[in-house]
């Protein structure tokens, strides 16, 4: 039985298919109108309206007459400062409509007027003593300590933060008063014999070496790739949504398949269609934007100068070529999997994320752009485009970017072609026994959804109630109620057998020995992994690490309680949840290796903070592997308990601290230990029953 011979492809057939795809799309006037023409008018229209509203708001803020009152035991002095400040405002306006106007309201009860919003600012002028007194009172109320401060008279600008007007008034007055203060300081210094003005000491000037074009280019370069990418994704979708999922719905796909056109030609023609429409839509939108720029409907930020050499657009076009192919492959694949027009739209949203997020990488601060990032598809193009816009033409760099995304595009196109040739996709029928009978057979289908809901519940509870619950409460709620309780609920709902789900089986004695070796080894390697992650991948601010440590252990619990809360309970119930229920649910959906990785990743995600995800996931993979190889959950429980124990107890007992360095040979020993552990387990393995069978080749 041989496979289909490599398709020679037929140029004229390909062109015919392509022509007719385009023809059909253009005739769909409704879609063309709504998806292509309407946005051309609506979006600039919306931008225009929003800008107009914004400007009228600004004018309102500038035109108002702000009302203030002066209170406090040094009110006269306060008025004097205020007068000086307002004079500066009158003489040196910096708004388009002239100086901002202020008016005093003399009223006894200024504070309640402020509270009611009848005046905008209350200027409270306090003598040093009064200020000290007030501060002490407030500190006593809030039960905080105060630091000692210089004894100075104080002007408190009391305002309502929730009102833009009030905030604006207070800010303006504050700035002007600061200017008055600088002047006073200067004169005091001069009078005291200071030879120069303060600003002239160690005077700093900054020189911008970038030309205006370079700056403009940098800004545009950041936004260009995501913008174009978005246009292509949405434009290409106009074609993609119909091209397979729509055809499936209408039954014309089968007709097409019975013609003499080669499968690969059909796929290529559809991809060409998506690319053509995507590029056209992107081009139309850009031209449209330029038109509106010229017409003045949409404005650019000030000082925005773009200077492109004629080569730039060409270079950018070339760089975008592999990106368009990648986009088209993804969209076509999506169209192939979606069973209807509606479903396509549902899955498009996450796909947009997958593409747009890497393209934003150029916006990350501190990223050395001339770095390995160029080897990542999509992200590499984003970075390369920005480099071009700045005027840097590092050819090696650009070629690497092209190559990496090009490679991804080529791989994507091949994957698409292969997948779409699969019969299952084209003549899909998903009725099978699980759908009909429900019950335990349905559990694998739904397990991920359940864990998704559990994760969200877990997240919300931790964030919302975390502090109130304390460590004990969190352990109980998160582990016992949400995780374990969720597992029990699943068992009940799907009519599963708890013993099977939780993998309560006996194991070969040698496994226990293996686990005992594994515990310290895994732990050391885990430390190494955390270190690597922290240094190279997810640098975490130091204060977050410290805060986390405190939150976990700050409660001053006796050691035995900590041991139960942090080692025994997780060791038992987290295992039951993740290596029990989750593993059982996933066993049929993925092959053994994939199951370990997925289960590990999910376990990691449940430990929500960024820097804990990878190390926890690593442990999750180890534990899952042990369970799969031994068919029993007990070794994993022991390992989990042991791991947490080593992490907790020596630290608490003071034998080690967070700073204790780990010698390099310990890492090597750890790795060796892990190898030994898994060798033993593998040798005496009793595999987890009823795993996914590999689909025989002929059914691929």
């Amino acid at each position: 039985m041989s496979g289909e011979p490599p398709s020679r492809g037929n140029r004229s057939v390909l062109l015919t298919l392509f022509r007719y795809e385009i023809k059909r799309l253009i005739r769909d006037t409704r879609t063309v109108l709504i998806a292509i023409v309407a946005p051309l008018v609506l979006i600039p229209g919306m931008i225009f309206v929003m800008r107009a509203v914004e400007r009228s708001e600004e004018r309102r803020l500038d035109d108002t007459v702000y009302e203030y009152a002066v209170t406090g035991d040094e009110a006269e002095w306060g008025r004097a400062v205020l007068a000086a400040a307002l004079e500066r405002e009158a003489n040196d306006p910096d708004t388009t409509t002239g100086a901002v106007r202020f008016e005093e309201r003399a009223d006894a009860d200024a504070d309640s007027l402020l509270g009611a919003g009848a005046i905008h600012v209350v200027v409270e002028a306090l003598s040093p003593e009064t200020y000290e007194r007030i501060r002490a009172e407030e500190a006593a109320e809030a039960d905080t300590e105060t630091e000692s401060e210089l004894s100075l008279p104080t002007l408190r600008l009391r305002h309502r933060g929730q009102s833009d007007f009030s905030r604006n008034a207070a800010e303006r007055l504050g700035n002007r008063m600061a200017e008055v203060r600088s002047e006073l300081r200067d004169s005091v210094y001069r009078a005291g014999g200071f030879p120069v003005a303060i600003q002239q000491v160690a005077a700093v000037t900054t020189e911008n070496t970038a030309s205006a074009q370079r700056e403009g280019g940098a800004l545009l370069g950041l936004a260009l790739t995501p913008f174009l990418l978005f246009l292509m994704l949405s434009g290409g979708s106009i074609m993609a949504v119909d091209t397979i999922s729509g055809e499936k719905e209408r039954g014309t796909l089968e007709t097409l398949l019975t013609t003499a056109a080669a499968r690969s030609d059909i796929v290529k023609a559809k991809m060409m269609g998506i690319i053509a429409v995507g590029i056209s839509v992107a081009a139309i939108n850009i031209l449209n934007l330029l038109l509106y720029l010229v017409l003045g409907v949409v404005e650019l930020p000030e000082r925005f100068v773009i200077a492109l050499s004629p080569m730039d657009p060409l270079l950018i076009l070339i760089l975008f070529l592999p990106l368009t192919v990648l986009v088209a492959s993804a969209l076509l694949l999506l169209s192939g999997y979606a069973k209807s027009y509606k479903e396509y739209q549902l899955y498009l949203f996450p796909l947009l994320f997958v593409f747009l997020v890497p393209s934003l990488v150029a916006m990350l601060p501190g990223m050395d752009l001339r770095s390995a990032i160029v080897l990542f598809p999509i992200a590499g193009i984003g970075v390369a485009v920005r480099e071009i816009m700045i005027g840097e033409y590092d050819w090696t760099f650009l070629m690497l970017a092209f190559a990496s995304t090009g490679g991804a595009a080529w791989w994507g196109a091949r994957l698409t072609e292969r997948t779409l040739s699969m019969e299952r996709l084209i003549s899909a029928s998903d009725l099978d026994e699980a759908d009909l009978t429900g019950g335990p057979a349905l559990f694998p289908r739904h397990v991920l959804r359940w864990f998704g809901v559990m994760w969200v519940t877990f997240l919300v509870v931790s964030l919302w109630f975390g502090e109130a619950l304390g460590v004990r409460g969190q352990i109980v709620v998160n582990i016992l109620i949400i995780m374990f309780g969720g597992s029990l609920l699943m068992i009940r709902l799907y009519g599963l057998d708890a013993k099977t789900v939780f993998a309560f089986r006996t194991v070969h004695p040698a496994v226990w020995l293996a686990v005992l070796i594994g515990i310290p080894s895994g732990y050391i390697v885990g430390i190494g992994l955390s270190g690597l992650v922290n240094t190279y991948l997810f640098p975490v601010p130091q204060n977050v690490l410290e805060a986390f440590g405190e939150s976990l252990l700050g409660d001053d619990m006796p050691l035995w309680q900590l041991v139960i809360m942090l080692t025994v309970i997780p060791g038992i119930f987290e295992e039951l949840t993740f290596r029990g229920a989750l593993l059982h649910g996933l066993r049929k959906t993925f092959g053994p290796v994939a199951v370990c990785l997925v289960a590990g990743a999910i376990f990691g995600l449940f430990h929500v903070s960024l820097f804990r995800i990878l190390p926890t996931a690593y442990l999750g993979v180890l534990f899952a592997a042990v369970v799969l190889m031994t068919g029993s959950i007990f070794p994993a429980m022991l390992w989990h308990f042991g791991n947490n124990f080593i992490a907790l107890v020596p630290l608490q007992l003071g034998w080690v601290t967070g700073e204790t360095p780990v010698p390099w040979w310990a890492y090597a020993a750890g790795l060796a230990g892990l190898v030994v552990t898994f060798s033993i387990v593998w040798t005496v393995r009793t595999p987890y029953p009823d795993l996914k069978e590999k689909r025989p080749k002929e059914f691929l």
Partner: protein
């Protein structure tokens, strides 16, 4: 020796279901079609008719056995097979936004009909089926009768020697069904080889030169109507059909009752 236009040997198709494992939709079918004959495939829903035909049309890949059409093997030369084939099925639809004429042109071209002769061919088809009046209207605006005509026309647009009609009269009214049957007859007279699958007995009786009875993935009987009549002692195709199906059922269930004459068992498998 008349060469077979279509040759099917031991054709098998299994599907892989995640929970049930292998499911055999077609379990070893043999038949052949001679040039210029109308071969009927008779069977209940789910018997494996459609799957067999789709394998012949290379939409599905057989998991066992061999098949060839017009001298081309479905495995090694699928495009050549499809070039020689016109496939008509109730589930194959037309593109709503193309006109009738454009539809015919498209399918002619894409099936590699010589492009310089396409306009002529399309004109001839339009005339033959009498659709000149609305050939330039979009398909979505047409009634189902008109759509059917265009469907048949596009099936033979590239003048293939072999035609497959999968339940072509399903859902049609009496007159439309008769019209369809007339066209099939016409095409046979022009020398086309036709496989017709149906579960309407009268249609099979009227049109088919030979009839194969399929049930549960297997070919139960193969021959002319007269041969079937002699084999089973029944006159009406309906009764013949039931006879074979029942026999197959009880065979599978291990009953030893002997139904029919020894010649029956010869034609089985």
């Amino acid at each position: 020796m008349v060469e077979s236009m279509i040759q099917v040997e031991g054709l098998e198709k299994s599907f892989w279901d995640e929970s049930r494992g292998e499911i055999r939709a077609v379990d070893g079918i043999d038949f052949d079609c001679r040039p210029g004959e109308v071969f009927g495939l008779l069977g209940a829903n789910g018997a494996g008719k459609t799957t067999t035909l789709r394998m012949l049309a290379t939409i599905l890949k057989p998991t066992g056995g061999r098949a060839s059409l017009n001298g081309h093997d479905v495995f090694s030369e699928p495009e050549a097979v499809r070039r020689s084939l016109g496939f008509f099925s109730a589930s194959t639809a037309l593109y709503p936004r193309l006109t009738g004429r454009e539809t015919l042109e498209f399918f002619a071209r894409i099936n590699q009909y010589p492009s310089e002769r396409v306009p002529e061919r399309v004109g001839a088809l339009i005339e033959r089926f009498g659709i000149a009046e609305y050939a330039n209207a979009r398909v979505e605006k047409l009634s189902s009768g008109m759509k059917q005509k265009i469907s048949i026309a596009r099936t033979i647009a590239h003048d293939p020697p072999v035609l497959i009609f999968d339940e072509p009269t399903v859902g049609l009214d009496v007159l439309a069904a008769l019209e369809m049957q007339r066209v099939v007859g016409e095409l046979r007279d022009e020398g086309k080889t036709i496989i017709l699958s149906t579960h309407i007995m009268s249609e099979a009786e009227k049109l088919c030169d030979r009839i194969g009875i399929i049930d549960r993935g297997r070919m139960l009987a193969l021959g002319t109507l007269d041969e079937h009549r002699r084999a089973t002692g029944q006159h009406y195709l309906e009764d013949i059909f039931v006879h074979f199906v029942m026999a197959n059922l009880s065979d599978d269930e291990g009953a030893t009752a002997d139904i029919g004459s020894p010649s029956t068992s010869e034609t089985i498998r």
